[in-house]
């Protein structure tokens, strides 16, 4: 009985500590902390630095912050390579994403159907997404090799091109751009397909059956029911694809390094070559900042779509 009194006195405090994690005001910030720290250190800080650098003439040789106003932007814009890169980025992004949208819809519809070996087909289609980007792209580098390309071999052995001829996939401007776009589409396709497949399977079975009973044939079910119901989720998939492709330089860097003669140079790779390899940090940053308005617009669109999806 005598020990009961002090025990009772400590109890409220103990209880407070025990339920500390159940208070939203404590647990919420605590759980958010790692991602906030990550974002600040690895996204926020570099972004601020990049914008800051874009207004200086900083180089790796002379790391002093000397502000020059918009001179760096003027210089970057005066450089024809920057303008080529800007155009290439748009072409590269738009065409690869159009390919991804069309192919992923077809694939998702095909993979929803029941057939033998469905799981292996799904597995094979997902495979590109699971391999590291650089490794997958290196495999393509061999596929598109100027001398040993197996694609050339197939083309000449089927009589489509003359025997022993080479396409020089990465050596000619248009073919190089086509190759880079194709590989980017190949890379982005699995994710888009999986997102669409998830969207398709989330359409209630009885809604599709109702359409069947209401007299709709295959095409009317596809364009009247399935695709409209897929639209919100595929729009999100498309926006993500656009952002990824717009800022990506892996495929270009591994396959062509922007060549031949900057025919496949995109903003990301050009910023990298200028700023990191060429040492003109300020100019590289200015090129990268060109991507900013486009990305900000896309990001705003994504956020709006996501919040609207939550409401409905």
């Amino acid at each position: 009985m005598t020990t009961a009194a002090p025990e009772a006195a400590t109890r409220p405090r103990e209880r407070n500590r025990r339920y500390l994690f159940e208070r939203e005001g404590v647990l919420g910030p605590l759980l958010l902390l790692p991602s906030v720290a990550y974002l600040l250190a690895l996204v926020g800080f570099p972004l601020v630095m990049a914008i800051l650098y874009a207004f200086t003439d900083i180089t790796t040789g002379n790391p002093a912050l000397h502000f020059v106003g918009i001179d760096t932007f003027k210089a970057a814009l005066a450089d024809p390579v920057t303008r080529t890169s800007l155009r290439n980025t748009v072409v590269f992004t738009v065409i690869s994403q159009v390919l991804v949208v069309v192919l992923s819809v077809v694939l998702a519809f095909a993979l929803r159907a029941n057939f033998r070996g469905k799981w292996i087909a799904r597995f094979l289609i997902l495979l590109p997404w699971t391999t590291p980007i650089a490794l997958g792209t290196i495999a393509w580098l061999w596929m598109l090799d100027s001398i040993f390309s197996p694609i050339d071999w197939v083309l000449s052995h089927t009589g489509i091109t003359s025997p022993g001829s080479h396409m020089f996939w990465l050596g000619r401007a248009h073919l190089a751009m086509g190759s880079v776009i194709a590989v980017q589409a190949w890379r982005m396709l699995p994710l888009a397909t999986v997102i669409l497949l998830a969207g398709l399977t989330s359409i209630p079975q009885d809604v599709r059956e109702a359409a069947e009973i209401d007299g709709a044939g295959f095409w009317r079910r596809m364009f009247g029911i399935d695709i409209p119901l897929l639209l919100p989720i595929s729009a999100v998939a498309l926006l993500f694809g656009l952002v990824f492709s717009f800022t990506d330089m892996t495929v270009v860097f591994v396959l062509t390094r922007g060549g031949p003669q900057n025919a496949t140079q995109v903003l990301a790779s050009w910023a990298f070559f200028r700023g990191i390899e060429g040492g003109s940090l300020g100019e590289g940053a200015a090129v990268a900042v060109f991507m900013f308005p486009v990305l900000a617009g896309l990001a705003a669109l994504i956020l709006r779509m996501v919040s609207r999806a939550e409401v409905s």
């Binding site: 809604v207 109702a210 069947e212 009973i213 209401d214 007299g215 044939g217 009317r220 119901l229």
Partner: protein
Amino acid sequence: MAVVETRGVRKVFVGDTPAVDGVDIATEEGEYLVLLGPSGSGKTTLLRMIAGLERPSEGEVLIGGRVVNDLPPRARRIAMVFQSYALYPHKTVAQNISFPLAAGGMPKERRPERIRWASSLLGIDHLLERKPRQLSGGERQRVALARALVRDPQVFLLDEPLSNLDAKLRTSAREDLKEFQRRVGVTTIYVTHDQVEAMGLGDRIAVLDKGRLQQLGTPREIYHEPANTFVATFLGSPPMNLLEHDGALVGFRPEHFLPEGLVSEREGRVPFEYQVDRVEYLGSDRMLYGTIPAIAAGVKVIARLPFTVTTPVAEGSPARFAVAESSLRFFGKDSGDRIAPQPLRGVSA
């Protein structure tokens, strides 16, 4: 001619247990036929085979006298209302109702009139511009009905259309459904597991269990002349009392089991010594739970006395109860099937 007929229809999904095991049903023109059964009885599978959403493993489905086994749903001139209503979430109410018309190839300019007709019949004119998610459960059901109705089908198939409504709405929706069918006059097949819905709506009821048709008859027949013990106990709440006696099962409904004085002698009164264990007051009724030791000591026997019967009954004491002979039903002990009345020897108290 039967509008819808099934001949020996079987459906096996996986393994050996059939979901539907040889069902023969024929509807009459303009009839309201209810498929009633517990979950897993095969009633929905049967409906889906009639709709063409499932293919029978064996047997034939006929609509309008034609075998339709090989026809897709859209060629069967049927309309179906799903349990979830299955409205198209991205279309407005008007577009939902218009969808079957467009799919049926009706010219665009003739559709609005048809939509107006269907929506005014169901009283949803004011909802035409809304999306399904902006509607209440009852409104959704009406839209689903309008969408089914608009194409002028030969047959309506309804799959538990009331089960998503709350209890209060269900009663009024049931009345509406009946009224609606009376006005439209289209043959309707209605699936439910709710006996009250079945009794209230059906011109005839097909009772299904384990994929087999147990009985097909009017609500009155099903209730008063059950073909076997399954039907006898599935309908009625509380179910029919079944007692084993002399190699047979004797059945009588709780509402027919009354204090002796209330059963007239002319009807052939069969009196029992009723040991009452518990009394429940339910407002309009009094439920008595007890046993009849002279026949089957361990078997619970329920009596349901309307509040107009004021005979005092005490828990834990024996009372003299009786059943009119005409209210007794007899079933085979092993088969469970209805058999001819047996004399009840040595039970009378």
